[in-house]
């Protein structure tokens, strides 16, 4: 199966600073990947390269069979749905529904289908009740959800998201997780920049770790979360459920809440 996203020895430098150095990885359709690392390690740069807002200094970034250096961001939008930090700057329509409809409309989706997609996207994130509101009338966390709905409505083959759960409460985080899982099951690939390793453990399978512009780790997330020393060296902390699972030696090393709960119940009742 050909890759949905491929970074081939990508280096990116600007103003004399090397933001990314020799980064190489591929992501297959349906894969759920966490992009993790300290502040300033280069994660946002990766997302901007995928959307075509930046072109690599050397190396190639491919979305499917498209070389991003030869495509404009609006062309890449047909395959890539994105959520950047500070959703406030991504919202620009007069109502939430209009804003979510923007992407599908501009990329040529048929009218009846647009309405259906908007409804689905809003419902999946609990925004149906505020569809007619002005985006700036929503509290900041819900603006982020509105921007995410816009990306989901594109039903893209690849979703790249920057901190989709920052500042969200428990219910909203669960909705985001469910919506992303549903997209992945439909075949979309996910690349999610996140500090929230609890969320990552719940929704994502694979971890790419960036350290000062270089790829320091590319392997299943479970392996990373079980490796306390490596986490510490990377400036990361294992989420509470992973630590509990490890400390109790739960069989199978579960990381997701449902599985940990099951193993825990068995352990405590035994």
């Amino acid at each position: 199966m050909s890759a949905m996203l491929a970074f081939d020895d990508v280096t990116f430098a600007y103003a004399g600073q090397r933001a990314l150095e020799a980064v190489t990885f591929t992501i297959a359709p349906g894969e759920r990947v966490a992009l993790v690392g300290r502040n300033g390690a280069g994660k946002s740069t990766v997302l901007r390269l995928v959307t075509g807002l930046l072109h690599p200094s050397t190396g190639v970034v491919r979305v499917g069979d498209w070389d991003t250096a030869r495509r404009r961001p609006d062309e890449l939008a047909r395959r890539v749905g994105s959520l950047f930090q500070h959703a406030d700057q991504q919202l620009f329509a007069r109502t939430v529904a209009d804003d979510v409809a923007f992407g599908p409309r501009v990329t040529g989706v048929a009218l009846p289908e647009i309405a259906a997609r908007v409804e689905r996207a809003l419902a999946s994130l609990g925004l149906a009740a505020v569809a007619g509101e002005h985006p700036y009338d929503l509290p900041p966390p819900w603006r982020k959800l509105a921007a995410l709905a816009g990306a989901l409505a594109l039903e893209p083959a690849l979703l790249v998201l920057d901190e989709p759960t920052a500042g969200l409460d428990r219910r909203a985080r669960a909705m985001v997780g469910a919506a992303l899982a549903a997209r992945a099951e439909s075949g979309s690939a996910l690349l999610v920049v996140t500090h929230d390793l609890s969320f990552a453990a719940e929704t994502l399978d694979r971890a790419l770790v960036l350290e000062r512009g270089r790829l320091a780790w590319d392997a299943p997330l479970a392996g990373l979360l079980a490796d306390a020393k490596r986490l510490e060296a990377l400036g990361l902390v294992a989420p509470p459920l992973a630590r509990l699972s490890q400390a109790l030696g739960l069989p199978g090393g579960p990381l997701r809440e449902q599985e940990v709960a099951r193993a825990l119940a068995q352990r405590c009742r035994a």
Partner: protein
């Protein structure tokens, strides 16, 4: 140029348009416009071309309307004057960082709130430009095609204008609140952190410009 005292720079930015309007048309206005555009080119420091080009582009629609309304004579009379105003303002923005203006005003005894208001006006244009860029980026990443002929570009501009203004206004609200969290105390004088140096020669120049403009005004009225 940037080492000059902020008040000197402001003085020049005010004096040039004043001279443009006070001096007889068309050569008075034209002369002032040339000086203003020249300042743009020098003051831009590397991006000087961008500054005077921006000035000309901004002024162009006004020239067009002047021609429609007043014919060639009117256009030649008022056009350079408007260009001087625009060019002076853009030059001031390029050459005076808001932080320095605040320091100068605060050191001279102005209340901090007045200083911030003025500096916010100065930083409004670059801030809007930056915000516009971010909105366009977001629109492009959602599929909006921003190249193409003039009609396409106009449509793209329309897609940008409303969100730009609305989000900017909204942010003004949030920023006004945020600024209140940074220690404003009524009746307390802000401490200048790095007051800009004011030379005797510059002060003389500012007075000279003021007296010159007033004298010119009196001469024109009389």
């Amino acid at each position: 140029m940037r080492a000059l005292h902020p008040f000197t720079l402001c003085g020049a930015a005010l004096a040039l348009p004043a001279l443009a309007w006070l001096l007889p048309a068309p050569w008075g206005g034209a002369g002032a416009a040339v000086v203003a555009l020249g300042l743009c080119a020098i003051g831009g420091e590397g991006s000087g071309v961008k500054v005077w080009r921006a000035a000309l582009l901004t002024a162009a629609p006004f020239w067009f309307f002047l021609f429609l309304l007043h014919g060639t004579a009117g256009m030649l009379a008022t056009g350079p004057r408007l260009t001087t105003m625009i060019a002076s303002f853009l030059w001031l923005i390029a050459v005076l960082p808001p932080a320095r203006l605040i320091e100068a005003m605060v050191a001279a005894g102005w209340p901090a709130s007045a200083a911030f208001l003025l500096s916010a006006t100065l930083s409004a244009v670059p801030a809007l430009r930056e915000r516009g860029r971010r909105i366009v980026d977001a629109q492009r990443c959602r599929g909006l095609d921003t190249r193409g002929g003039p009609l396409r570009r106009l449509a793209a501009l329309r897609a940008l204008a409303l969100p730009l203004v609305l989000s900017a206004l909204h942010e003004v609200d949030e920023r006004a609140l945020a600024l209140e969290t940074r220690g404003f105390t009524p009746g307390v004088r802000r401490t200048p952190l790095a007051p800009p140096r004011d030379r005797v020669a510059e002060r003389a120049l500012r007075w000279g410009l003021l007296i010159g403009c007033v004298a010119l005004l009196v001469w024109r009225i009389a």
